[in-house]
């Protein structure tokens, strides 16, 4: 009987790439939408902080805030053309700052507040995604594909963050690892505070 290790060693040099799936045509809008939450660091920080905070509170309490986040985001992406709100990035940064501080303090927020953060955060993220500006002249299907990509990535980021924070605080529950979570919170809030100051400076025209 051939040993698995020997078989692997024999087969490895002759293996070719398994390109079973490639990009599909006309999927550019979906990919663009899926990439957006990762590339827009302000959005990523908010989603990361939100997910970690949800996990800190316990994954059982994550469902409602997460659904509110997604729902608010879909609604705001859909109505964005009618509501230009240029200061929305300030809301995103302020929310990120407050969530980062709560994380640094290891303070699990009440469900009501998390739900409110999900609602407001989702609305702000959707407005800031600003599909009409980033995808001018595209059809309804393309915009829906982009929204689908955005929501998928949002769930990826938030759910993984929830799982990680839950593991750290409720499963492993080891002091050094919990400190790492708190340190992450301080880093998130520190970055958010400085960028918030920059945005305020630009808005107020301070030189």
């Amino acid at each position: 009987m051939i040993r698995p290790g020997l078989a692997a060693a024999v087969l490895w040099p002759v293996a070719s790439s398994a390109t079973a799936h490639g990009t599909f045509e006309d999927g550019a809008e979906f990919y663009a939408g899926a990439a957006h939450p990762f590339l827009a660091l302000e959005h990523f920080l908010l989603l990361l902080a939100f997910g970690l905070l949800l996990g800190l509170a316990g994954r059982d309490r994550a469902v409602i805030p997460l659904l509110l986040l997604a729902g608010a985001m879909i609604a705001s992406m859909a109505i964005a053309p009618a509501t230009p709100f240029h200061a929305v990035s300030l809301l995103i940064l302020a929310a990120t700052l407050s969530m980062g501080l709560a994380l640094a303090a290891a303070w699990p927020l009440p469900l009501m507040i998390m739900a409110l953060l999900g609602l407001c955060g989702g609305a702000a993220l959707g407005l800031d995604t600003d599909l009409p500006r980033t995808m001018p002249g595209t059809g309804l299907f393309a915009r829906m594909a982009a929204m689908g990509g955005v929501i998928l990535s949002v769930f990826l980021i938030v759910l993984n963050s929830v799982a990680l924070a839950h593991l750290i605080t409720h499963v492993w529950n080891r002091a050094p690892i919990i400190v790492a979570l708190r340190a992450a919170g301080s880093w998130i809030s520190a970055a958010a505070l400085m960028v918030l100051a920059l945005r305020l400076r630009d808005m107020m025209g301070i030189t």
């Binding site: 640094a104 080891r174 340190a183 809030s189 520190a190 970055a191 505070l193």
Partner: protein
């Protein structure tokens, strides 16, 4: 070796190895990489920043819990306050002097194994963090991507703290105590060199 010590040792070795040997992973070109890389390199490329960050970690390692985690959490937050002041153009007198003094004071604290009350240590670290943050913040508006820049230098600061904490934990052992105090002396000397303009 206890679980906590194993964690600290493994993390320190991994991070230190990574910092010392890693090359830039320029998988993506564009503004994000420029901002993140620039931000990460800013504390690391300035020796005056590096020695102070290491000293905070060393001192935390000496003071043990809860200072060992409280100081590295307080520092970024206070640094951000200083950074916000720098970004908005609020002047802060003697930034470079404050940064140099941070190396001297924190280095001496490590050298003489000073163990003040937790709130005193936090205040000292917080005050110096404002000076460091102000220096970083003045460059933030020039960054290609301010968010990436801010994230980069906050991460770099945190990693330097972690290295300091790991080294500071060596103070639990006989020869390690001498090594840690020697590090404190070196940091204090370096801070004095920056203050006097020798370095």
């Amino acid at each position: 070796m206890s679980f906590n010590r194993r964690i600290v040792l493994v993390m320190t070795l991994g991070i230190a190895t990574g910092l010392l040997t890693a090359t830039a992973a320029l998988a993506h070109t564009g503004d994000n990489v420029g901002g993140l890389q620039s931000g990460f390199m800013h504390p690391v490329s300035g020796l005056d920043h590096v020695i102070a960050m290491l000293a905070v970690g060393l001192w935390g390692g000496i003071l043990r819990a809860p200072a060992v985690w409280l100081l590295p959490i307080v520092f970024p937050l206070m640094m951000a306050l200083g950074g916000a002041a720098g970004v908005t153009g609020i002047p802060l007198a003697g930034v470079e002097t404050g940064i140099a003094l941070s190396g001297i004071i924190l280095g001496l604290a490590v050298l003489f194994v000073l163990r003040p009350n937790l709130w005193i240590a936090a205040v000292i670290v917080g005050i110096f963090a404002i000076f460091h943050g102000h220096a970083h913040g003045t460059e933030l508006p020039e960054a290609a991507n301010p968010v990436a820049y801010a994230v980069g230098f906050v991460i770099a600061t945190g990693l330097l703290h972690l290295i300091g904490i790991a080294v500071g934990n060596l103070g639990q052992f006989g020869p390690g105590r001498i090594a840690v105090r020697a590090c404190g002396a070196a940091i204090a000397l370096a801070g004095a060199a920056f203050l006097t303009g020798v370095a």
